[in-house]
Amino acid sequence: MVREQKNRVYSYAAMLLRNQAEAQDVVQESMVRLWQHQSKVEQAGAPMWLKRTAHNLCIDRIRRRKVRSEVGTEELEATSTDGSPGPDRLAESGRLGDEIERALGQLSEEDRSVLILREVQERPYAEIAELLALPMGTLKARLHRAREQLRKKLIRAGVTP
């Protein structure tokens, strides 16, 4: 189970946190916690348990960052909007993915998490609703809002999706 889930959980954490070292810490901690709670977690529910733990640890870290300082995020936003390559250059260099990742990083963690889970990882709606503890209607409304926010960020950055 761990081998099947590790890359997906790690990708999710890395995109949500925008920091690979922190994402590694989160995934390691989630796996160790799963090991410690193995007697309480049913085998069928273990993947969801792992994802939810990783998600909660990511959200904790993002909140701690906000409390410490807003500077990091502002710097990231500034670098993403300054001197972004235009659509032609992006197409030539194949860096649309980089620009999308940068734009994703500027969204709120709520919008970012729902976009990563649904659009990047293509997880089923029911799984996302369970993971984020959201009713289906709220989840879809958040997904629609997140898509539009991402499109706006890309257009403002001079990238035509």
């Binding site: 990708s11 590694q24 390691q28 796996m31 993915g97 999308i100 659009e119 629609h144 898509r147 999706p161």
Partner: protein, 207 residues
Amino acid sequence: MKETDELSFDCRRARKAIHEILDGDKLDEDRSLWLQEHLPRCADCREFDAEMRSMQGALRSLPVSQFPDAALDRVWEQTIRQDQASPRRNWRIDWRSFAAAAVLTAAAFGLWQWNRPDDLDERAQTVGLIVIDPERVRSDPEYARQIAEETRRVLGLTSDALRRTERAAFQGILVDEVGGALGKVPVHWPEQDDEQTERNRQRENEL
């Protein structure tokens, strides 16, 4: 690019339908036909549709990050180390403590069931001997032999006590519970006619 609140009613309706298509939902026939009519007439919504589809495609083709093997190794090390350090494992290894606890439990049970007054002295000796000194067991063969002998004797008493308890429990169940339950079972005798009842009464009087 128009903001959502600047959009006409039709454009908002069209974008909602486009989102639903991106969600993987199937539009009903009326809405699908309406959207097909709206898009050729509205450049903004056509652009929105194309950009959203392109963005979804780009998001889906983002590479999946690989969790490094070294990080996974660290997880294994941490979990194995925790497992080895857990007191549960030490408890399993320390079979001497387990054996001593078992003997003490057996002795306690034996004494509890052992109710002959003339055995009081013997009981006291058993209690004294059954408090095992593990160090002395290792160093003093005579003491170890005594302990083994006493343990066998206490286990024998415990076995007798268990048999007595089993017998008593069986009798209790049979007499109290089964007998009591049978007493509560309603018995309906077949109805007898008056002539038969009179004959029975005469027979009882004769007896």
